[in-house]
């Protein structure tokens, strides 16, 4: 078995192994270290001789490394004696317990004491089973940077005494919101890379969808989990049509809708149905907007009135200037650019999205539709200066030039 096989087994087993070891040792950082040591050993020994049960081998090796680590900590001698006397048999762990442990692992990885970057790195490595190198590549940062984030995160968790357990009922909903937002951040980074020269990072979007599916399987009664999954699936369904062969972005208006992934649309609509049982939350509402696009044969035949209503609802449950801006775009489609421009100008007057290229991008488009070409051009040039994604920037500049 080669490195790719080790990686594959690890993808499947990582969360389960780290969760079991954390419960076994009571120490998340130690469990993660021991699990990583086991993977490193597998990379050396599996190419020489493949184990009969790769999953069992990883768990047993990680467990041995955990015991070694505990043995080295003299202060924990008593606990080691306890462990040695009471070995956990991995085969007959209650499946519900494993589910709860994996959920607990997600709650720990996304704990509010951690920085947002640390939550993302830890979730991808511990729950998703990605290597430090894979995470670094996905976010265009160096391996030592990711390594440092994870090391610091483990120290923070230990220092803050974060327990390995499901949050108490009273905090559960809010903490779940924290987990969902980490998954959403990963997806967003995958669907619009914030920097660099690529628009999409489909691998990262896939990781987010995978995490969302895991959450949906483990928390089937939480509508917003399905809402987030629906949003990810419906957005990812458009990926095949979103870039042209040289990697430049294609706007929704100009996309060849026949290239959308209709299996993903169907999965997204199914998840949205599950999200709708008790009224839609912020993710569910965004998914409903994505569904309105996915169900429309063309831009002209899109139910823009419905989209405006959904944005209004979203603005009430999760007010944000980006939502306002998107509402303006929908209003432009439903009622014309003049009304939309008023919304955008209000946003600018209240300075609620300072420094964002999105405001001048939308304002430029609206002015162009109103025939105010010199102003439109100035706005698009401003947007290009503010935009950090090179692909998007060149599209903006092309549009600005076309207006002269």
């Amino acid at each position: 078995m080669g490195p790719a096989d080790v990686e594959a087994v690890w993808r499947i087993e990582s969360a389960r192994i780290v969760a079991a070891l954390t419960r076994f040792t009571g120490d998340f950082g130690l469990a993660e270290d021991a699990a990583q040591e086991a993977v490193a050993e597998a990379l050396v020994s599996w190419p020489l001789s493949s184990p009969a049960s790769p999953a069992g081998w990883l768990m047993a090796t990680a467990r041995r490394r955990a015991i070694d680590a505990i043995r080295r900590r003299t202060a924990l001698q008593d606990r080691y004696a306890l462990l040695a006397a009471d070995p956990v048999v991995d085969d007959d762990i209650d499946p519900d317990r494993i589910d709860d442990d994996i959920l607990a692992l997600m709650f720990v990885s996304c704990h509010p004491v951690l920085s947002p970057e640390a939550r993302v790195a830890l979730t991808l490595r511990v729950v998703g089973g990605l290597s430090t190198e894979q995470i670094a590549r996905a976010f265009l940062v160096t391996v030592p940077t990711v390594q440092a984030r994870i090391t610091r995160a483990k120290k923070t968790i230990a220092a803050a005494g974060v327990p390995f357990e499901l949050p108490p009922a009273g905090e559960r909903r809010e903490r779940l919101g924290g987990v969902l937002s980490v998954v959403y951040v990963i997806f967003t980074e995958g669907s619009t890379a914030t920097s660099g020269d690529r628009l999409l990072s489909p691998g990262l979007a896939y990781e987010a969808i995978r995490l969302a599916r895991t959450l949906a399987a483990l928390q089937p009664d939480e509508p917003e989990v399905h809402g987030l999954l629906a949003l990810c699936e419906l957005t990812a369904a458009r990926f095949p049509a979103r870039t042209d062969p040289d990697g430049s972005p294609i706007l929704l208006t100009d996309q060849d809708r026949r290239r959308w992934d209709f299996s993903a649309v169907r999965r997204g609509l199914a998840a949205l149905a599950k999200a709708s049982v008790r009224g839609l939350g912020p993710y569910g509402l965004q998914a409903a907007i994505a569904a309105a696009h996915a169900s429309a044969p063309s831009v002209e035949e899109t139910d823009w009135d419905r989209i405006v209503v959904l944005y209004e609802a979203l603005g009430r449950v999760a007010p944000s200037p980006v939502v306002e801006l998107n509402r303006a775009v929908a209003v432009a489609m439903a009622s014309g650019p003049a009304q939309a421009l008023a919304i955008v100008d209000e946003l600018i007057a209240s300075d609620r999205l300072p420094g964002s290229h999105l405001v001048p991008t939308v304002r430029g488009e609206l002015l162009a539709r109103l025939g105010r070409r010199p102003e439109a051009r100035a706005e698009l040039e401003l947007a290009a200066r503010l935009c950090t994604n090179q692909r998007e920037r060149s599209v903006l500049l092309r549009k600005a030039t076309a207006l002269s």
Binding site: D5, R257, R258, A294, P297
Partner: protein, 138 residues
């Protein structure tokens, strides 16, 4: 990441062994599908009815000829599939090894190319487009 289809291939013998233990195998398969769902890789899975109940349509230069199943000389019969969304072919192989299956059966693993890999003007798109235009919805 890609979708892979795990295609179950059995013989008359493995099918008979399966039917002898059908309840146990169904329960194990249900648990396996739950595992797939919790890992975030499950897309779809179906099992097929007895090949003796199937029919085969043969194409030639003449009009298609329909015969009763199974498949003539074919020794290995397609009995069902799992469709998974995994990170790599190796991961598809790892999951395949965990499928509850009777000795003697085989699993063939095939990648499903993504929408973005299909040439833009292929017949597939024309067909879907026409379908959408006539129904007005997807």
């Amino acid at each position: 990441m890609s979708q892979y289809m795990l295609i179950m291939r059995g013989t008359d013998e493995t099918n008979a062994a399966m039917m002898a233990n059908v309840d146990e195998l169904m329960a194990a398969t249900r648990l396996f599908i739950e595992e797939l769902a919790k890992a975030g890789v499950y897309v779809a899975a179906e099992g097929l009815d007895d090949p003796g109940q199937g029919v085969v349509v043969h194409f030639s230069d003449e009009a298609p000829v329909v015969t009763d199943g199974p498949y003539g000389e074919t020794k290995e019969l397609f009995g069902g599939f799992f469709l998974l969304d995994v990170a790599s072919k190796q991961e598809a192989v790892e999951w395949a090894k965990r499928v509850p299956a009777v000795p003697g059966s085989k699993i063939e693993i095939r990648r499903v190319p993504g929408e973005d890999e299909v040439p833009q003007d292929s017949g597939k798109f024309v067909k879907e487009g026409t379908l959408r235009e006539s129904s007005g919805r997807i």
